[in-house]
Amino acid sequence: MVLVLALGDLHIPHRAADLPAKFKSMLVPGKIQHIICTGNLCIKEVHDYLKTLCPDLHITRGEYDEEMRYPETKTLTIGQFKLGLCHGHQVIPWGNLDSLAMLQRQLDVDILVTGHTHQFTAYKHEGGVVINPGSATGAYSSITYDVNPSFVLMDVDGLRVVVYVYELIDGEVKVDKIDFKKTTTTTHSAH
């Protein structure tokens, strides 16, 4: 019952002023155990705000982040799952599943979380799961202006992870759920 919040691409203050109010009201401290952030916060104040939600904060550097010392990629283990974190602008083509799968194999993780496209996607393939939480503020991206604010909450419970996707569509918070089950710990075998 570990709750992990995944979000990113806020682009505060350059492209967005703040998180949507409805999102902010939902994000209360105490419920979430980990936060993983894909990057592009961009300023320190956002970092501090996220720290108030949960002390365990993992961030990778996006291209507009003002903090230079965030890592490019990060891996962490939560429960039975290995998670990988990267902003995604390094992986080209942006948002391409095969490339991201390559990165996942490189990092040797079960769940890979990347951003940069400002679109929510969740792929499941033989190796594991690739999740893109989208932009939490709905900031425009290099690709498109039509961005819905979204973020992802993962409920890691043993060998099962339930992914809740929160999207703000037309002013309403829509929630979706995806179940992923991890097969018993397997070493990545060459395919």
Partner: protein, 824 residues
């Protein structure tokens, strides 16, 4: 099914055997015993093993239901629906009804509980800190708090729960020991024979397997095994039967089961907290707001602490006042004591013993007696169990008495109270608590009005020490005028209660003071060697003819009752008769010395005006104090009483009946007889003024008494004479009849046929005695004048002055009466 038929009666006999000894058989199985005490299990004496199993199974099912309902697993879809409304049931949902919302609330509660659990019983950590135990405790507390959201979780609940779980654990261990010892009786063979034939499918097995069981590990159904089961210790039998996996309700009904320890512990905890069947509800102690129905607007635990102090003030006022002076409020330490039922003060083993007592205490709420008009302001005293809890707390305080009194620092006092010593004689504490429990249940505790100081405290301490029969007779320091009437009533009641328990007498609780007074005097009489009756401690000078009037009227009423002199209880008149007999006898024995004590006694019973007069009356015959018997008012009453008594005496030619006519007068006499000499002087001075107010009738009573002291042995005669004298005091016609009847009754003990002759003789004797008494009175007056100066009480002096005048008039009347009598 003959084997089955054979088995069943044997089983039943085994059952009944175990039922008979159920109380004993469960002495070692605390878990079962406590469950019975808490009301979860029906007592084995009135139910079968099957009933026990059914009740156990039901309670376990309830808990399982509760757990499924309340323990939230958000992953499981609610109500079996496969597509929960994600807008509500997502982890970040703000909706309080959502599964996740409840989950998070539970998680917070668990965190709070865990804080306490991690510090639970570190000295027994190998059990209590084990994950299994902690998990069970956590779940139980969580579920209880969720079930009772009005209380929430408070620190201390875990301490109440832990011993409950522990005793269940001990029981299960005992079961495993028994299993090892009597392996053959515990069979797990599912096709074995079982006593409880709930499952018809197994019937066929009996015939088939009966014979084959001989050489296998025995089963219950085996005839040979049945016989051996009977041979077992009844306790072991019970254990076996209770843990039969195939009995009623199958595994769920096994009363001692490790699997269902959590369920059972929850039931016990629930019963303890909710106060099942009228027991003290521990949950009340955790609630911060006053419980509905409490007389004071205080939270229950504060109220209970105050009740504790009240009981302490009753028992040991000096310690109480010391603590109050220092500012040690009871709830500082009592909060912890009460909330955890002394869990933090004693080691676990001692605590189990204490809880044995508390749980076994009678839980029924006491009926408010007729005399308890004020009602109990302390709810905790309304049941014996509550009283025992308070009494135990008070006994703990008393145990630390010397160390508490030795310090003038409130902090040190509190430290000592909160750090109860380790090596204590628990049995003594419990014994003391039981004695105080009786006190707490007494009616005097009910009234919350504070009593004035020394006299009250003295009387209370007298009550407390009635067990030890203290012989001190400290004169009261309080001014007599301050003592309210009800004070004596209360005192009497308290004393009466205590003495009742001690003497085994069941003297009737009479709201009127005089009755109590007579009882008291009787009681004081019974302990002839002991101190003067406590009434003496606080004698006041309140002189109320009305009281006397009531006294006598009541006496006269009572005279109608059939008395049995030795009748211990209900009838005060009989008691009085008894009393009087004793009094007279004592008088006869004591001779002159009695009077003073009588007078003192009389003084003590100030609230009961009549008593004073009577005591003076009594003192007269025994000593030459008779002059004071100016019970003018009473004489009429006494004559009335004597009239009624006479009727009785006619019927029952026993001295004791006559005694009833003079119960009042006799009683104080008796009391005074027993008192020490220090009362004599004051008593005398008091008696004299009192006497002066009384009519000569009573005076004559004493004359008769004195006469009996001189010569006659039988109290009856004395009584008779007194009666006669009393009657003589009346207008005349009454007296004659009274006299005659009295005389008849007087001598009925001796003869019974020679009524008339006796009457004449007694009348003559009366006259003589009256003369003697007159002389006594005159001498007393002389003495009085001497003693007036030495009297401590100014009021007494005043009375003395007045008394002299009245005494003279009384004397004159006496002379007249004596003349009349002599003429007869």
């Amino acid at each position: 099914m003959s084997p089955a038929a054979i088995e069943r009666p044997m089983l039943e006999s085994a059952c009944s055997k175990s039922s008979d000894e159920s109380r004993r058989s469960f002495a070692n199985l605390r878990g079962v015993q406590w469950r019975t005490d808490l009301g979860i299990l029906p007592p084995l004496s009135s139910s079968t093993i099957d009933d026990l199993r059914k009740v156990t199974a039901d309670s376990r099912r309830r808990y399982a239901c509760l757990r499924r309902h309340l323990l939230v697993d958000p992953h499981l879809p609610k109500d079996g629906s496969n597509s929960p409304n994600l807008a509500i049931d997502n982890p970040l949902s703000q909706n309080p009804d959502s599964t996740w919302g409840r989950f998070f609330r539970n998680a917070e509660l668990e965190k709070t509980v865990d804080q306490d659990l991690s510090r639970l019983y570190p000295e027994h950590g190998n059990y209590f800190q084990s994950t299994g135990c902690q998990g069970m405790l956590r779940r139980i507390l969580l579920l209880w708090c969720l079930r009772h959201p009005e209380y929430g979780y408070r620190q201390g609940m875990h301490e109440l729960l832990a011993p409950l779980l522990y005793v269940l654990h001990v029981d299960v261990e005992r079961l495993s020991e028994v299993r090892k010892e009597y392996e053959d009786h515990f069979t797990d063979k599912f096709d074995g024979l079982s006593f409880q034939e709930n499952d018809l499918r197994y019937n066929f097995d009996f015939k088939k397997y009966l014979d084959s069981m001989e050489d296998e590990i025995g089963s219950h159904g085996n005839a040979t095994k049945v016989r051996s089961l009977d041979e077992l210790d009844p306790e072991i039998q019970t254990i076996v039967l209770l843990s039969d996996a195939y009995g009623a309700e199958g595994e769920l009904g096994i009363v001692l089961s490790e699997k269902f320890m959590e369920h059972d512990a929850y039931c016990m905890f629930d019963a303890l907290m909710n106060g099942a069947h009228g027991a003290v509800a521990m949950a009340d102690f955790f609630s911060p707001s006053p419980v509905g129905g409490s007389h004071s607007g205080l939270p229950p635990v504060i109220e209970a602490s105050a009740a504790l102090y009240h009981l302490l003030s009753v028992v040991d006022s000096s310690l109480h006042s010391h603590l109050v002076e220092l500012g040690v409020e009871p709830q500082y330490f009592a909060l912890r004591w009460l909330r955890v039922l002394f869990g933090r003060e004693f080691s676990l083993e001692n605590l189990l013993l204490i809880w044995d007592e508390i749980f076994a205490a009678d839980k029924n709420k006491l009926e408010k007696g007729a005399g308890d008009d004020t009602g109990s302001t302390f709810g905790i005293f309304s049941s014996p169990q509550g009283a025992l809890i308070s009494a135990f707390a008070v006994s703990m305080i008393l145990y630390l008495r010397s160390s508490l009194l030795s310090t003038e620092n409130a902090t040190i006092c509190l430290q000592r109270l909160l750090k109860f010593p380790e090596n204590i004689d628990l049995r003594k504490l419990i014994g003391k608590a039981k004695s105080l429990q009786a006190l707490a249940l007494g009616p005097s505790i009910s009234s919350s009005s504070p009593r004035c100081g020394g006299a009250y405290n003295h009387s209370k301490s007298m009550v407390v020490r009635s067990h030890t029969l203290p012989s001190d007779s400290i004169s009261p320091k309080t001014p007599l005028n301050m003592v309210p009437d009800s004070y004596w009533e209360e005192k009497w009641r308290v004393l009466h209660k205590a003495a009742e328990q001690r003497n085994g007498s069941s003297g009737k609780q009479n709201p009127t003071p005089k009755k109590g007074w007579t009882e008291k005097v009787r009681l004081s009489l019974s302990r002839t060697a002991s101190d003067p009756s406590p009434a003496k401690a606080g004698c006041g000078n309140d002189h109320k003819p009305s009281v006397r009037r009531r006294l006598l009227e009541d006496l006269s009423q009572e005279l109608g009752l059939d008395e049995d002199t030795e009748k211990a209880g209900c009838d005060e008149v009989s008691g009085q008769k008894d009393h009087i007999c004793k009094v007279v006898e004592v008088e006869n024995q004591d001779g002159v010395n009695n009077d003073f004590t009588c007078v003192a006694e009389e003084r003590c019973l100030s609230g009961i005006a009549g008593s004073e007069e009577n005591s003076s009356l009594f003192s007269d015959p025994s000593s030459p104090l008779s002059g004071a018997n100016n019970h003018e008012n009473d004489s009429e009453k006494s004559s009335v009483a004597s009239n009624s008594s006479i009727d009785e005496t006619d019927d029952h030619p026993e001295a004791n009946h006559e005694d009833t006519t003079l119960p009042v007068s006799h009683l104080p006499n008796n009391a005074t007889l027993n008192s020490g000499d220090n009362n004599e002087a004051t008593g005398k001075s008091l008696a004299v003024p009192k006497e002066r107010k009384l009519l000569s009738g009573k005076f004559q009573w004493f004359w008769k008494f004195g006469r009996s002291n001189d010569g006659e042995e039988t109290s009856e005669k004395g009584n008779g004479a007194l009666d006669v004298t009393k009657s003589a005091n009346d207008a005349g016609s009454q007296s004659s009849t009274v006299c005659s009847s009295v005389d008849g009754s007087c001598y009925s003990s001796t003869t019974g046929d020679l009524v008339d002759q006796n009457m004449m003789g007694s009348l003559r004797n009366l006259g003589h005695s009256m003369l003697e008494h007159i002389q006594v009175i005159e001498s007393v007056f002389q003495q009085d004048r001497v003693q007036v100066g030495s009297s401590d009480n100014f009021s007494k002096n005043v009375l003395v002055g007045k008394g002299q005048v009245t005494a003279m008039t009384a004397l004159k009347e006496l002379r007249k009466i004596s003349n009349l009598l002599s003429e007869m």
